[in-house]
Amino acid sequence: MTVPPRPGRVIPVLSHGFLAGWALLTTLPLLWAVLSSFKTDNEILTDPWGLPSRPRPENWARAWDDAHIGRYFLNSAIVVTGALTLTMILGAMAAYVLARYRFPGRRIVHLAFTGGMMFPVFLALVPLFFVVRDLGLLGTLPGLILVYAAYSLPFTVFFLTAFFRTLPATVAEAAMVDGCGDYRLFFRVMLPMARPGLVSVAIFTFLFQWNQYVLPIVLMQGEGAERRWVLAQGLTALAVNEGYRGDYSGLFAGMTIAMLPVLLGYVAFHRQVQSGLAAGNLH
């Protein structure tokens, strides 16, 4: 009697092989950066693979203070906090009336907002530079906050409009019968009901704003603007400068400081991120 083939065994092993392979490709570069941030320049140059002979936390201190990564980090935090707050307030307001009120021009306004998702930012780069300069906002944090918020609106309005449409009309009607005005209805009833949608959109908007590169390098120019650079900009400048100075360990430390908080935050919130992705998929 022959042993029947066991097809159920081969494929799981193969799948694990491929899946683990890609997981390795994803994590190896990140681990390498973290590891290198604890090595000396000499160890990095002579043995890119090896472990540090002893950890050098002073690399991190040098990157944070001397290379100003700490200051850039703070600037990024200020800009994203301001821009995210502004985006969520303005985006929710616009999406709410677009989803639940009928008025002339509604379709045009909706199209104008959502159409902004289609085009790469840099098509508007030259005029944007002059708009911001003429408003006296070039190289300032408030300028960057306003621009980030404006360019986040298409995504926010698109998803929140779809979300507000799914909320049951009966609750709003009941509140209106009870004498609840439009403003109270929005702030007391609709916003709390829209919480799950708001959280998902806020997470993706945060990633969009935290990871911006083109907008800051164009808009944070001019006298003294280096003091107000954001992390993305500071890190690439560091990569160029450290290359000349040969401070590779400082560069890897700066890189690690820039990526660890976001990675840890993602691991903590991964459920919301992935369910937001699944929800966005339905529309």
């Binding site: 799948s15 994803t26 303005l90 008025f103 085009f119 840099f122 030259v126 911006q212 120019q221």
Partner: protein, 301 residues
């Protein structure tokens, strides 16, 4: 009724004002600026009509850059989507098979978390990191090659015009693929399990199931993915600027970088806007063409 009007106006006014000033007006202004020889230092400029367009048509450097975008547009979406579908289906149906049907692999949740990592990293971190990975002596890539005895393959990757563009293209694949594994995975979980069980009873293999059942049911998601990736391919600015700055020579240049340098290094704002407008229409045509091609073979559901 007047109260309602006022409410709509107060809620729509502020967001529209912000959006109009910083998004809509720059897009609109790009068109008139594109027809000038404006150099930005003085407010004076002359309208030069279509002279910028003629100059663009004969600009070898721009066409070289645009050629690299075209190559990315052809290769990046299919490569990323195929890899995404492959890994996502491994996650959802790559596990053991028994009477109850096909199972997902163990540890699928952990894989999903890890695959999403590049998506949450800023493009600056990705660019700076990969520039170090490709570095000739201290880089991870050459380090790995030497460690496994393939010293002959180690080379200055970014310094060689034959490889620089492909190095950047691989970074784009690396940084995007994981997102689509998770996206397709989420869409696959929404497919009812009994469809798979029915296919299984009919004797379908996993490969047949993937291409005949899963992909058609996922078609809307695949289409969205294609559009997103096309936008990445037409842009590609940040990764190229950080890793190679378009070099060596112009071997990895892309249109966005050409525009950026024309505007902010050479101060030829009029001509840079012409590039922007050209790419605006290009993006529009690619999107229209794509939607027309894919609409026809959409399955009836």
């Amino acid at each position: 009724m007047r109260g309602k009007r006022l409410f709509v106006a107060t809620f729509l006014g502020p967001p529209l004002l912000l959006y109009g000033v910083f998004v809509l007006s720059p897009y609109a202004q790009a068109f008139p600026i594109a027809a000038t020889d404006w150099r930005g230092l003085t407010p004076q400029y002359d309208f030069v009509g279509l002279a910028n367009v003629r100059r663009l048509a004969g600009d070898g450097l721009f066409w070289n850059a645009l050629g690299h975008n075209a190559l990315l547009l052809l290769l990046l979406p299919p490569a990323t989507i195929l890899l995404g579908l492959f890994l996502a289906s491994m996650l959802s149906v790559g596990g053991r098979r028994d009477r109850a049907g096909v199972h997902g692999v163990r540890g699928a949740a952990l894989y999903r978390i890890v695959y999403f990592f590049p998506q949450v990293l800023s493009v600056a971190v990705i660019g700076v990191l990969w520039k170090q990975i490709y570095a000739p002596t201290s880089g991870l890539l050459n380090g790995v090659l030497r460690a496994v005895g393939l010293d002959a393959l180690a080379r200055p990757w970014l310094g060689d015009p034959r490889f620089s563009f492909w190095c950047v293209a691989l970074v784009l694949l690396w940084s995007n693929a994981g997102f689509y594994v998770v996206l397709f995975g989420a869409a696959m979980q929404a497919i009812p399990r009994d469809i798979y069980e029915a296919a299984l009873l009919d004797g379908a293999t996993r490969a047949t199931t993937l291409f005949r059942v899963t992909v058609p049911l996922l078609w809307d998601t695949v289409q969205v993915a294609w559009v997103y990736l096309a936008i990445v391919a037409i842009d590609a600015f940040a990764v190229v600027q950080i890793i190679t700055d378009g070099g060596p020579g112009f071997s990895s240049d892309v249109a966005g970088l050409r525009l950026y340098k024309t505007a902010f290094a050479d101060a030829q704002f009029g001509y840079a806007s012409t590039m922007g407008v050209a790419m605006f229409f290009l993006t529009l045509s690619v999107a229209a063409l794509f939607l027309r091609v894919t609409r026809r073979d959409r399955p009836e559901t």
